[in-house]
Amino acid sequence: MTALAPPRSTATPRRRSQAHHEAILFYLCIAPWLIGFLVFTAGPMIASFVLSFTQWDMMTPARWIGLENYRTIFAADEYFWQSLKVTAVYSLFSVPLKLVTALFLAILLNEASRGVGFFRTAFYLPSIMASVAAAVLWSWILNPKFGPVNGALGVLGIQGPGWFTDPRYALWGLIMMSAWGLGGEVLIFLAGLKSIPHHLYEAAELDGAGRRARFLRITLPMLSSTIFFNFVMALIGSFQAFDSAYIISTAHAGTIGSPMNSTLLYMLHLYRNGFSWWKMGYASALAWILFLIILVLTLAVLRSSSLWVYYEGERRA
């Protein structure tokens, strides 16, 4: 990385022109990424911000209305608060569920001796499955009469609910679906686990630490930076969730957010405003509010990280 950083110009003119050449080379090398970023990310973000102050249906010219969109969102949009509530519940449960399960599976994979490659692939495959296929699969897994989940509950004597057609349980179905896609987190945890030096465990065993102590005092602290990364990524991802909720609610339960707005994630509400009702300015305002929410939450996690994240080589008082 340091080789590509633009070097500071030094004393002699000859060295300066060489440094100049290297600087040009540097900018040329990152030019594709930089241009892509400006044209496809930064530019549209600025456009979206400007659009959030307009009323635009994509066919007639945009009309400037100032803060009207934001005022409507906070004062006059019942679906906005419902979607925030649904997304908060979704995030609150899917993120820990995903991370805990991923860590558990990673520990198992770390200690496995046979067939590790197969299981690693098996755990990773769901996260790269096409979302439509996954939605159809899960609508069968959670099928009220013939699905295996309700079948297993039936064996235990519990009457399984209607899942995606029951407003009390549809969101839980979505949460389970999101936890199923934990492949990426498992692999990252596995890499983190493998990087914990063995001598720490050996030393702890010699001192008489049991499995629980070894896990809590060595594994978790050494993994804390990995946990931190996975946590932030999962948090951001959970607020942006769209695919599975959209397919399940429109194709299986009724309309966007069915049943009864219990699956109305924030991005579904945004999509409906932008593409079903042609209120692009309003949708842009919603997008920026989501950005701010995610930003605030991520900053909060970042600030808290000094309390619980331990980077290798650090010394704490």
Binding site: L25, L28, M58, N143, T250, G254, M260, S276, W277
Partner: protein, 453 residues
């Protein structure tokens, strides 16, 4: 070495930039030909007969269809290109997210010259000025007599008496019934002019339970199209049959319409069919049986739907079925599902686009589409003899009772009226409750939303 690296870096950058700017499907502007067209118009006096000399160039056509449904398109395009040599028609079929793509094309000003529009979107598209008014073309150099169309379907492409769209195809709602199941239960077949009470009694007699009390056969599968639990268009005939309405004719008010006693009674009847009389499978029952065609497998004795599955039913040798019109209460009423063609207001080649539009909506092109769905062109329909066909006769008869679509009264119908109505109906179907109170609330929300538009 440094110089070599620099040259390499520059060429990589240029290569990547070129590769990322893939040419899109933009129409090649036939600028030279257009000026020729305009000059010919000035020189040659206007006559009643079409002038093929002005029809040149390339036009683009947008459709949301895919697979077998593109066959009539391809045949119509071939026929049109043979009739007018020198013209090219590019079909842009967008099976996924057609609406979204069309919106972005409008924003960029590159929408196709002719594009398909669904009935619910007609008012919205016209209001934004993206659809060309067709009246001048109907009476212009290449005229078209609107009397060749059936009045009902034609009216959906017309707003305030002005014509904006021409019909592609349409389907009213109809009840399919399984003759074998009727014979088994010794129930007489439904007849024209049957009432809600006849309908309910028939459905009840055809609902069977097993020893444990689980329903194994339902009397009727109510409108549940495309997985939509509360398909407004499908159940709205009940409201009209009872003399009710959903919105005022000027599209500004729903109170006293959506919660009128007639509408409340109709919605109550609909909800009772699921919850009180239990003659129709609920969303939960359907979720358990997803992927299964309930009508063809004999799990429901009647099906309330549009005309679309009729060809599949006819192909099934084990299915002995027929069709009947919807029941009546105070009046006969039916709703229509409709698709039409529109001309882009910013098209660069409007004369050719109009010629193609006329071809696919009223001339030989329409014959191609008529092979797959109901056509709005009277002469073609009469040639097909659908009125005497045992399966289609009831469908054609019910066309008389089609009610104007409420979606046409305001472009904000989907957002302001349909959303709260569907939410209220969904809640009633899932949890029951007082229908009048639910509809009062929905009407209040709808009016608040409409007031802001």
């Amino acid at each position: 070495m440094n110089k070599y690296l620099r040259v390499l870096a520059i060429s990589i950058v240029i290569g990547l930039l070129l590769a990322s700017c893939a040419p899109g499907a933009t129409p090649t502007p036939q600028i030279v030909k257009e000026t020729v067209v305009k000059e010919v118009e000035k020189q040659v006096p206007v006559t009643a007969t079409p002038q093929p000399a002005t029809i040149k160039g390339t036009i683009r056509v947008g459709s949301w269809e895919s697979g077998g449904a593109l066959e009539p398109w391809n045949n119509a395009i071939k026929g049109f290109e043979a009739k007018y040599p020198g013209v090219k028609v590019q079909l842009e079929a967008v099976p996924q997210d057609y609406g979204t793509k069309l919106l972005t094309q409008f924003a960029a000003g590159t929408a196709p010259d002719i594009f398909m529009v669904g009935d619910g979107d007609v008012a919205k598209f016209v209001a934004t000025g993206s659809v060309e008014l067709l009246d001048p073309y109907l009476t212009g150099k290449n005229p078209l007599d609107l009397k060749t169309f059936y009045a009902g379907p034609l009216s959906i492409g017309q707003l305030q008496g002005k014509t904006y769209l021409l019909t592609k195809d349409y389907s009213p709602l109809v009840i399919f019934y399984n003759k074998a199941l009727f014979d088994e239960a010794n129930v007489p077949y439904p007849k024209e002019n049957w009432t809600w009470d006849d309908f309910l009694a028939t459905a009840q007699k055809l609902t069977k339970k097993d020893a444990k009390g689980n329903i194994v056969q339902w009397g009727i599968q109510l409108p549940d199209n495309w997985g939509d639990a509360v398909w407004f268009r499908g159940m709205s005939p009940l409201i009209y049959q009872n003399g009710g309405k959903v919105i005022s004719p000027d599209g500004k008010k729903t109170t006293d319409y959506m919660n009128s006693p007639e509408t409340v009674e109709a919605v109550q009847f609909y909800v009772d069919l699921f919850r009180k009389y239990k003659v129709a499978p609920t969303k939960e029952d359907l979720a358990a049986l997803q992927g299964v065609d309930l009508f063809q497998t004999g799990k429901v004795a009647m099906l309330w739907n549009g005309r679309w599955p009729i060809k599949d039913f006819q192909k099934n040798p084990k299915l002995n079925f027929s069709t009947v019109g919807l029941p009546m209460k105070k009046v006969h009423a039916n709703s229509i599902c409709w698709a039409g063609f529109a001309m882009y207001s910013k098209s660069q080649n409007k004369d050719t686009a109009w010629a193609f539009l006329k071809y696919i909506a009223a001339e030989e092109g329409a014959q191609q589409f008529a092979k797959y769905a109901l056509t709005a062109v009277q002469p073609i329909a009469e040639l097909q003899g659908l009125k005497d066909d045992p399966y289609n006769a009831a469908i054609i008869k019910d066309l008389e009772y089609v009610v104007p679509l409420p979606e046409l009264t305001t472009p904000a119908f989907g957002e302001c009226v349909e959303t709260p109505f569907k939410a209220a109906l969904e809640k009633l179907l899932l949890q029951g409750g007082d229908v009048k109170a639910a509809l009062d609330e929905a009407a209040a929300k709808a009016d608040a939303c409409l007031a802001k538009k």
